[in-house]
Each structure stands twice: as C-alpha cells, then as structure tokens.
C-alpha cells in the first residue's frame, strides 16, 4: 500500500481536481513560491500555468472578494492563505460577504469556494505568524470548517470540499506536512458530516483534531499502560460538529476530555462540553478541556513549550479525571 505525506496528499488532490475541472483556478499569496506552502503546490504551476495559478499581491481583502466573484459566475476557485493570521485582513469579505451573501439574497447566490488556511505553529514565530482561528470562524454562520489530521483525510476531505456548493474553509497545520499514512491513488471523498472514532474504549471519551490528534494518540498508548482505555474521536469537521458521534461515546464512558489547538474562551472545546451538558448526559467526573491559554503565542521556544498542549499535558489532565496523578 502506498504511503503519502500530508503535504503530498493535498498536492495530489489538487492535481486530480484541476485535471478533472478546468474551472478550478487558484488564487493566493505565495502559491507559486517555494517559501510559503511547503510541498503542497509542487508541479501545479508547470502543469496548469499562471492563468490558473494566480500568485497575487498581498491584498488579502480584495483577492478574497475576487474569489467570491469568480465563484458565483462559474469558476471554482481555491483561495489560499499561507498563514491563517493573514485572514484577518479578509474578515469583511469572509464574515460579511462569504457567510451572508447567499442567505441575504434568498438563497440565490451560493458561493462554491474552497479556502485553504494554513496554521504555522511554533518555530519561535510569535503571535502573528502562528494563529489557529478555527474557533473564531466557527462562530460565523454559513461557513463549513474542516480540519484533517492525516494524509488520507486530507486528500478525501479536500476533494469532498470541492464538491460542495457552499464555502468551505480547509484548515491544515503545517506541522502535519511530514506525517504520512496510506493514501489510495484513486479519487475518493470523505464524508464532511462525520467525525471518526479512531480508537474504541470504555473509560473516557477524548475528542481531538488536526495536529493534536497524534499527540492524543501518543497519550492514549501511555494511558492504556496505566489501565485506562480511551475512546478517541477525530473531530475532523469543526462546523457543523458531529455531535451525534461524540454524545454516543460520552453516554458510554461518562467522561470527556476535549483537546483543541485554539484558545480556551468560546472555542471548540467549550462548545462540545456545553452540548454534553445541554443534552443532560450525567458525567462521573467534571469535563476537561485542553486548549491554548487565552494568550497570544510567545516567541521563545521555552515559552512555546508551556503554551502549546503536548502529550504529557494530555496524560496528566486525563489522569486527574480518574483522580490519579502521573
């Protein structure tokens, strides 16, 4: 079975999609540059040319509007933000236009647009080069937000997003780019409605996603050695969240820990835990959330170590739920 790195899986999906559909064009800052988007764009420029791969000025706001205009008139644009932080410049076009346009116009103007947003955590990059904004966009109606954790999902979810009639934000963490797993060579899509139970267990439900899924998996192995069987759920879809899968698991385990790479307040973890409460599921111990603290990212690697969730923290926090210490 063939294995592909995460970045290569995205690259393969893009080649496939662009061959199949000549209306797919790409718009974005640095998409034809070796500095920005890792190996995800390899070979596209040579194959499809500058007419279809538009490496734009820095004007994030206007290129986002341009992508909307192209999308509603018959093209199928992919709009790339090489750093998610740069999306703040596009907030009006994303939150006032992409999200509301179709609804305000009576459903007469769906926007088939795929937005690639790349998180670049760590590396002493500081506060404005490392942000994960999925929790922020989750609050805005009208946006589908997806966050694959592995190469298989990256390819299948990317291709599925291109089949959607409405806007999708595809969030990739560049820390995943070198990770690899088995990826079929043919075209396939992953259901954009379902989370995935990646490990069954009876003792606690752990919801995780994107780059933190592998850290959660490492934690799960250690916890198993300590006699705790974790049911691990890869969230995959940030919006709409597949609550059914999560709630079914929590009904069984009566315990929940949510691991998320965003900030704590009003984020993914809070949303999931609130739904567990609303549904009246009796927990045997208080729920736990592991997130970033409500702070901008620091530069120093020493501070980064304390800032970002890691395997040890996931283990420690989980054990607390069993009234145990490491």
């Amino acid at each position: 079975m063939r294995k592909l790195k995460f970045s290569a899986a995205i690259n393969e999906a893009q080649h496939m999609a662009m061959i199949n559909n000549s209306d797919i064009i790409q718009i974005g800052q640095g998409i034809n540059s070796p500095f920005y988007v890792g190996q995800t764009m390899v070979g596209l420029l040579d194959r499809f040319g500058v007419e279809r791969l538009i490496d734009t000025p820095l004007s994030e706001s206007a290129i986002t509007g341009m992508a909307i205009g192209a999308a509603i008139t018959g093209l199928r644009p992919i709009l790339t933000f090489p750093r998610m932080d740069f999306m703040y410049y596009s907030m009006d076009q994303i939150c006032n236009h992409i999200s509301t346009f179709n609804y305000s116009l009576g459903g007469n103007s769906p926007i088939p647009l795929l937005i690639r947003a790349i998180i670049n955590r760590k590396g002493e990059q500081g506060a404005q080069h490392s942000q994960a904004l999925h929790g922020l966009f989750m609050h805005i109606p009208g946006l589908t937000i997806i966050m694959p954790s592995n190469s298989f999902d990256a390819k299948g979810m990317f291709l599925a997003a291109l089949e959607e009639e409405n806007p999708v934000i595809f969030i990739e963490d560049s820390e995943l780019y070198q990770e690899e797993c088995v990826v079929p060579e043919e075209y396939y899509i992953v259901d954009l409605k379902k989370a995935k139970v990646t490990n069954e267990g009876d003792d606690i439900t752990m919801v995780s996603s994107s780059v933190l899924l592998s850290k959660s998996k490492d934690a799960l192995i250690e916890l198993k050695k300590m006699g705790i069987n974790v049911e691990l759920i890869d969230l995959r879809i940030i919006k709409p969240i597949d609550f059914e899968t999560i709630l079914n698991s929590v009904k069984k385990t009566k315990k929940i820990i949510v691991v998320d790479g965003g900030w704590s307040t009003a984020g993914v973890a809070s949303e999931i835990i609130s739904m567990v409460a609303i549904k009246g599921i009796r927990l045997s111990n208080p729920p736990i959330k592991i997130t970033l603290p409500d702070l901008p990212a620091p530069a120093s690697s020493v501070l980064e170590e304390a800032y970002y969730p890691n395997t040890a923290k996931i283990i420690t926090e989980t054990l607390k739920n069993f009234n145990r210490n490491l």
């Binding site: 290129i63 509007g65 205009g69 192209a70 999308a71 008139t73 009006d92 305000s104 459903g107 007469n108």
Partner: protein, 313 residues
Amino acid sequence: MIKILEKMLLIRIFEEMVAENIKKGEIKCPVHLSIGQEGISATICEFLNDKDYVFSTHRNHGHYLAKGGNLNRLMAEIYCKETGCSNGKGGSMHVIDRSVNFMGSSAIVSGTIPIAVGAALTIKRHNTNQVSVAFFGDGATDEGIFYESINLSVLYNLPVIFVCENNDFATHLPNRMRQSNISVTERINGFKINSKNVDGNNPIEIYEVAGEMIERARKNCAPSLLECTTYRWLSHAGYWQDLDVGYRRKEDVEFWMNKCPIKYLYNYLKLDQKIDENQFELMKTEIRKKVTDAVLFARNSRSPNILNLDKGL
C-alpha cells in the same frame, strides 16, 4: 435615448412611491434612495445586455431597475415579503435578479467592488465577451479594498467598469472632510487605469464616455473607472431632505434639483423633437401605473414563512 429617459422615470417614480410608503409606515427596513442620481445607472445600463454582470450597494434600486430587474419582486423585497427577490431575507439593501445578471448588493460600503473584479476574471477565462460593472459611491473610495481592486483589475487586465457615483457624502461627511484629494479620478491615476470624470446629471455626457469604456472592456478586456459627479436629493436613508441637521445647505439641494437629469434629458429630446409634452406625460402615467401595481403586489404578498428561516444559507 428615449429608453434612458424612461428608465430614469421608472427609478424616480419607484423611489418616490417607496418614500411615500416609508412615510406611511408600510416600509420599515432601512431604505437608501437615489433620487437625483438616476442618470448614471439608466445611461450605463443602456450598453449592457442580460449577460453582463452588475454589482451594487445599499443604494441599489436604480441599478437593479436599470439592469432590467423584476419590478414587483424589488418592491416586495423592500416590503420584506416572501415574493421579494431575496424572499424577504434581505430587505432593500440585499437585492438580486440573476435572470438579468444583476448579481447582488452589499450593505458594507465597497463590499461588492472586488466581487465584480472576480466576475470579470470568469469572463476573461471563459472568453465570453461580457463586462462586469461595479456601482458604488464616493464613500467606497475611503476604503482600502477599493484601491486593491483597481490594482487587481489593471494587473490582470479584466473587463470591469468601476462606476463611482460621487454624491459628495458618506452619510453626512463631505469629501473635503474625508479625502486629501477629493477627485477620485486624480487619486487613482497612479494605477494606470483608464478613467474619466463626467457630469453625472448629464446623460448625454455619460453616454459618450460609458459607451467607449464598455466597448474597450468588451474588446480588449480593459478596465475603466467612470467618476460621475452627482448629488442625492434626499437624506442618506429614509425620505427626509436633511436640511436641518447641519451638513448641507438648502441652496445646495436646490441647485442640484435644478440640475435634474430627467429634466435635462427631456429638454434635450424635446428640442430634438424626439418627444413632446403629451408623450412625456403619457410615459409618466404608464410608469406610475406599473409601480402602483408593484406596491399592490408587495402589499398583498405574504410575509416569509418562519419554516423557511433556515433555508438558503
């Protein structure tokens, strides 16, 4: 030219009736009237066919009607009814009629300018000989995205026409208090875009320049900017004249009411013996009847069904 006169009258009478029905309390959503500015959209749309794209703003009724959008459905949308062009979800500021490629409007100033540029990108890639037109006011030129959009259109050589209806006010604040250089055309000269300033209340002058710009866009995929100097007779929103709130003088409003584009074109055509007083009155009567019917249609339509609240996202 007669068609331009007719379109201007349609917009004028439509908006006068909207104003009346705001006064009566029948229309409740925020409404931005363009009375006095009709010459611009009516003349420019004369060069457009149903395939050409138009994008608009909060002050959109003139653009919608000039492009040939459905009259009844516009009125019903202003009444926020189910039969409205946006099914009552948008109100006056969010209107669309895709059957004539009137592609929608935004209530965020400058919001649809880059979207019009994107439509032009599709035109160029599909090689379909259409043009894309963005209407906006001078307030939009206060925004950075306007300049970014101009740059993209020139950089990629796209068939888009930027039409700035410069009525001097961003709600209450005049150009001189917002801009270091009040001329939009001068400000964007550095982008190497074809541009011109015209008297926005003179349909003949607009006609000559717009025709040439649209031709250039169709033939050479070249963008242009047309700055039309004009004035809105009424307040930023609603039916008032804003004479008592301190930002404009009665004399200014009277000056511009004398420069009425409808009066100008009517006199021009009458002198040319293309129309006489009887024909003009008949034209008004017929339009008044159509607009009255539209009001009845809107009034008698049902409000949206709450079961449709979550439809169309």
